[in-house]
């Protein structure tokens, strides 16, 4: 009994988390993918493309620090997902903000970017602002606990 107690607790906790994620997944409507928050500018314009320039810089920072999803702008959940090109993935430095896993999955199957992005999941990440002399002109996200 004693040996099984903690395992049961962990199992119950993970079940609760999975349940919450399943409910949340239902709450993430596909229409957010048509106008993902971090790719939409204040004037309403939108370019859903893998290029870094397509992202709205202010919204990227907001998503990073407020810990909201770059697609639906709702609070993030664990795991946190990042979409990026193979190069971003290999460098462990993503430009697009953190997303829900379901939002990331929906985003990468969009016709415009299919094949260009893959999804990486993590528990945590570092938000790195660009330095003056660095090649990066945009903030990057570095996952620190890959799942």
């Amino acid at each position: 009994m004693v040996a099984h107690g903690p395992r049961r607790l962990v199992s119950l906790r993970s079940l609760l988390v999975r349940g919450a994620q399943a409910v949340a997944a239902d709450d993430t409507p596909d229409h957010h993918v048509d106008r993902p928050y971090a790719w939409t500018h204040d004037d309403g314009s939108l370019t859903l493309a893998p290029e870094v320039e397509a992202l709205d810089r202010t919204r990227v920072t907001q998503c990073a620090l407020s810990r909201v999803c770059g697609v639906c702008a709702e609070p993030l959940r664990r795991p946190v997902a990042f979409v990026g090109t193979d190069e971003e993935r290999a460098r462990n430095a993503f430009h697009a903000p953190p997303l829900h896993q379901v939002c990331a999955d929906a985003l990468v199957v969009r016709r415009e970017v299919a094949g260009a992005w893959t999804v990486t999941t993590t528990s945590g990440f570092e938000f790195v602002r660009p330095g003056r002399d660095e090649p990066e002109t945009r903030p990057t996200f570095q996952p620190n606990s890959l799942l």
Partner: protein, 410 residues
Amino acid sequence: MAISDVAEYAHLTDEEVEQLGRELDAIRAEVEESRGPADAAYIRRVIRAQRLMMVASRVVMAVSAHDDRTRKPGAIAGGTVLGLAKILENMEIGHNVMHGQWDWMNDPEIHSSNWEWDTAQPAEQWKHSHNYIHHQFTNVLGHDNDVGYGVLRMAREQKWTPVSLGQPVYNALLAGLFQWGVALHDLDLERIRKMEKDPKELRRQLKQIYKKGSRQALKDYVVYPAMAGKHWRTTLAANAWANFMRNMWSYVIIFCGHFPDGALHFTEEELEDETRAEWYLRQILGAANFKGGPLLHVMSGNLGFQIEHHLFPDLPSNRYAEISVKVRALCEKYDIPYTTGPLPVQYGQALRTIMKLSLPNGMTSSNSPNPPPPEQENMIPLDRRRKSESERPTRREETGSWSRTARGAS
């Protein structure tokens, strides 16, 4: 003072600012690489201790309530321990977990997306008003709502109106009811006053605050008192005392972070092109520490190291003490002010500012230190703009696949 004036203030050349940035990057990298089981054990220990205190306080109140001789001392002791537990939960656990300081542990419970703290403000709104607005626009007037919480005039650059005369009263009310002041923080009272707030968003936020706030009130002022039966008044009073303690303490700590003499305000509107090194510099100049022992720092959420917290808001709070030694040495090396002092002195200065700024500027003097004189006469203003694509080094082609290994993930 605008961020562009910082160059003259700090006497640093362009290269020195960047070198300072690189040295701070190295401190960050060192902590990121060395954080591990000892840090995880620390936060788990703090959470265990906090829960133990919470349970102990409830047990003391329940057991002592049924005897006339023990009821009052039991309520005072229980209420005080409960207050300390709430302080610990809000300051060292909730605030820091919601910054993502412990997300790397991969613990579903101790994660920024799952933690809901024991106070009236919904976590979602806190992460916007604090993590984003306050930490991104630190001390930038008109942007950072922490400068006076929308009710106090905290900088001489802010317009004085006769309403400011009531500051001592507003300040006392804000301190005593701090939990509720924080709950309304993300509403952005300034924008509501100017009729700029989206009514739909305002309704959504108010609904969220009502839901969280009423749950908190129900817990502290209905459910637990009801469990005490005919002695419900004693339990209710003890819970109110605990909340008052937490309110006063968190108010003092937060006001010591940015309002003692020496912490600067900024008026820059456009911060988009700020480099990482400039951002670091603004965080150092806009924040203030206070001195104390390890217990004081834990009970303050390690916000006695406010400068270090602002430089590295998502590094584990238990590492700020060691980081502060290095940051202070850097400030001395680069001749940058490092504002710190004993807690009563720091709070005294913040309180003096509140009192002084209730009056028009002409009736009071400024306590901000004057910038040191330039070392060279006719010094040419430094060009701190971000370099263009053509001026930057080209991106390195090789990739770091090592970062995706188990070591990188650990």
